[in-house]
């Protein structure tokens, strides 16, 4: 919602101004949750709807950033980032379900006539362990998959299709009721987090602030990475892997590191997403979602840090608006966007802005 402002502002101005606008946007984002605490009817009151909507988009922005790290910088297009996002979300969801169920079993398990928790649910009533799972589940999966994939030098299209198959398999697995994650319905009807009521305005505000902090932290991390020698190796990897190898670098470690890092970031975003939207289910793992994430990155501009954030904001903002204004034409618009961006904006919105800036 703040992006149009940013776009117009940075069109007129150079990098200094961009930084300044960035600071303004950050301030606005930090102010939103505080304003939401104002009583309803106050002229500056921000509704829970706006807050959760922006919060959701920010979570998506983190995913876009994470995807950009592997795609834009290392040249690995993952079509399975939805899986990592969902895994983080599920880990958080497990904690929330336990919290809602109290001493009993989560409702969907009693419904399956299970009498005790499966082993992988052990310890999820503790918030700390759930947080570990948020990092470990996507991280370990990415580590194992990445280890095998990079060892046999799977790249390009093959890598994309394999990651897509991976998230598809994950979706099928989580759809099964016997897997123990609530099947198609997933987890919903959360009550509280760390004892605070989940629908309370203050809880929402804190979650929102956490999301903003995670976003800023990942931006900083990405910025540091891109500036470091590591970042240069990654870019070299993207542009000419073989030459890099001839120079004596072993690309596997570099790829694996950035791949796992990206997956963990997604997991964290998922964990923040779930308490804000109030539901996690296997459709988050559907290949469509992961492809959409790739579009956010492409639209915003690959290989830049600000681009993916712009892309995620623009597409999701449009989606929220279009599905109300012209529900039947939303897919036409999204589809046309995909085509136009790839044809005319190979460097995304950021590329366009830069060009304007240079002129």
């Amino acid at each position: 919602m703040n992006q149009p402002l940013l776009v117009t502002a940075s069109q007129k101005a150079g990098p200094r101004w961009t930084l300044a606008t960035g600071a303004v946007v950050l301030l606005v984002l930090l102010a939103l949750p505080l304003l939401s605490l104002l009583p309803e009817g106050h002229s500056l009151h921000v509704s829970a709807y706006t807050l959760t909507l922006v919060g959701k988009i920010l979570c998506y922005a983190i995913v876009a950033l994470a995807l950009d790290l592997v795609w834009g910088y290392a040249g690995l297009l993952s079509l399975g980032h939805g899986l990592f996002f969902a895994l983080g979300g599920y880990a958080m969801g497990m904690y929330l379900m336990r919290e809602a169920a109290g001493d009993g079993l989560p409702a969907f398990m009693t419904f399956l006539s299970w009498t005790e928790l499966p082993w992988y649910w052990a310890g999820t009533q503790h918030f700390a362990w759930a947080l570990c799972l948020v990092v470990l589940a996507p991280g370990l999966l990415a580590l194992v998959f990445g280890f095998f994939a990079f060892r046999s030098r799977i790249k390009g299209v093959y890598f994309s299709i394999m990651t897509q198959a991976l998230t598809f398999a994950g979706m099928l697995l989580f759809f099964r009721n016997e897997t123990g994650f609530g099947g198609n319905n997933g987890f919903t009807n959360f009550r509280s987090i760390l004892g605070y009521e989940i629908t309370a305005q203050s809880t929402r505000a804190v979650l929102f602030l956490l999301t903003v902090s995670l976003l800023v932290a990942s931006l900083y991390l990405g910025w540091r990475l891109a500036r470091s020698k590591f970042g240069r190796v990654l870019t070299a990897l993207r542009d000419a892997e073989n030459r890099l190898m001839f120079c004596g670098y072993d690309p596997r470690g570099f790829k694996l590191f950035v791949w796992v890092l990206s997956a963990v970031l997604c997991g964290l975003a998922g964990a923040l997403y779930v308490p804000q939207v109030g539901i996690i289910n296997p459709s988050e793992m559907s290949p469509t979602n992961s492809i959409e994430a790739a579009v956010w990155v492409a639209l915003g501009g690959r290989g830049t840090l600000i681009g993916p954030l712009l892309g995620a904001g623009l597409v999701n903002g449009m989606k929220s608006w279009f599905t109300v204004a012209f529900p039947e034409y939303w897919l036409f618009c999204l589809g046309a966007l995909f085509i136009l961006v790839t044809l005319y904006l190979p460097k995304g919105v950021v590329g366009l802005l830069k060009k304007r800036g240079e002129q």
């Binding site: 297009l77 998959f145 095998f148 994939a149 060892r151 046999s152 030098r153 799977i154 390009g156 299209v157 093959y158 994309s160 299709i161 394999m162 897509q164 198959a165 991976l166 598809f168 398999a169 099928l172 697995l173 759809f175 099964r176 000419a240 892997e241 073989n242 290949p287 492809i291 790739a294 579009v295 492409a298 039947e328 034409y329 897919l331 036409f332 999204l334 589809g335 046309a336 966007l337 995909f338 085509i339 961006v341 790839t342 044809l343 190979p346």
Partner: protein, 495 residues
Amino acid sequence: MLRLLLTLLLLLPLATQASEGEYFITAKPAEQVSLLEGWAAQPDAARLPLLDNLHQGRIAEGDTRKLRLNNRLRGLLENTLASHQLLSDVAKVRLAAAQQLQKSAQPAQVAFLDRRYAIEADAAVRAALGLVLANLQLAAPEPSVRLAAVRLLGETGDPMARTRLEALLEPGVETDTNVRTAAETSLAQVKRKLLFGELLGQAFSGLSLGSILLLAALGLAITFGLLGVINMAHGEMLMLGAYATYVVQVLIARYAPGAIEFYPLIALPVAFAVSAGVGMLLERTVIRHLYGRPLETLLATWGISLILIQAIRLLFGAQNVEVANPAWLSGGLQVLPNLVLPYSRLVIIGFALFVVLLTWLLLNRTRLGLNVRAVTQNRNMAACCGVPTGRVDMLAFGLGSGIAGLGGVALSQIGNVGPDLGQSYIIDSFLVVVLGGVGQLAGSLWAAFGLGIANKLLEPQIGAVLGKILILALIILFIQKRPQGLFALKGRVID
């Protein structure tokens, strides 16, 4: 006078028939049941037309009153009809009737069946009737009759025989030891035959699934495999083919109802043309600008697929449309008592192989194929040699899309035709092409049938979902070993 009498006499059966029909339609369901049971035990050839009519839900031709039947009455009616058809002069009709009676004959019919069995001349019908009687004779009071029946049942591979023998072998049912041992032998025999049928059925369903995957993936093997375009809109080409089939069916039903039986054949060129046309249009307008940037073709074609889906949804509605199997694609071939091979699936297997052959010929035996292969291997060199690369790209993309359209015609015969049709095949298609080795028709062939059979072998053991997941995991592992697929192009090209 005499003539009048004769005519009256001739009209008599017609009159009784009409009155029986009248009586039947006004009777309460319970009366209808006893009526049918009575007719089944004492068939009368004159009643056959009436039963035929009843079976079609009316009491006489041209009578508009609709007969309300339920499944119980329908079952009884089928049995009664079969009972009457045993009186037919045509051996084939009698054989079908006997086969129906094997399922449905009731003890009250034994006397009639015994009479027919004694005078039946045709060997096949006689054997079938023997089985009908054997089923009923399992309850006969004389052990010798039961023994003969049990032995006879051992010869069949009928799943019902297994149930009947098992029921006989329940403790306390059969007291005669001779019959018991014979029943045990027969049961083992029947089980063996059933197992054979089951395995054959599994193999067939694997082949059938493979042929479907193959048809779905074949077009992609060209657009992705040869042109390097990650065509996410490939599924929508299948969908367009299926919708073309639907439109052809509707048009033929309206303008040439006589040819409706053959509409799938007419749909083939139409579907090919529609999908190929759309494909070429897309190639000229969008994809042409993206060669050499495979990951970006992925995004653009995904956008195209969204647009195509929504366009179809607006044009034809979000609901599925009805594509009916013509008579020659309905039903199946009864190979064994527990194995029916549906005609539609048989035809699709043949069709898939035919399309593969056609594609192979086109790529390897024509000038276009030569050009396509040349452009695939070295675009610049081909251009230097005077190959119009732009045109070849367009034609090749059209060919791939057109083949997908042909696949759509086949898919419309076994599944849904709806806007989302393509989405359900796209991932499988990519897996087939990647597994088979990009650019390799033979690879796709093996990969499709391999995946189909593996899927169908795993499904009964661990269920459809886990089977599919296991296969995906196996593919991921397999790609580790052979990153270029089953049939990799050998070369030393490196960037």
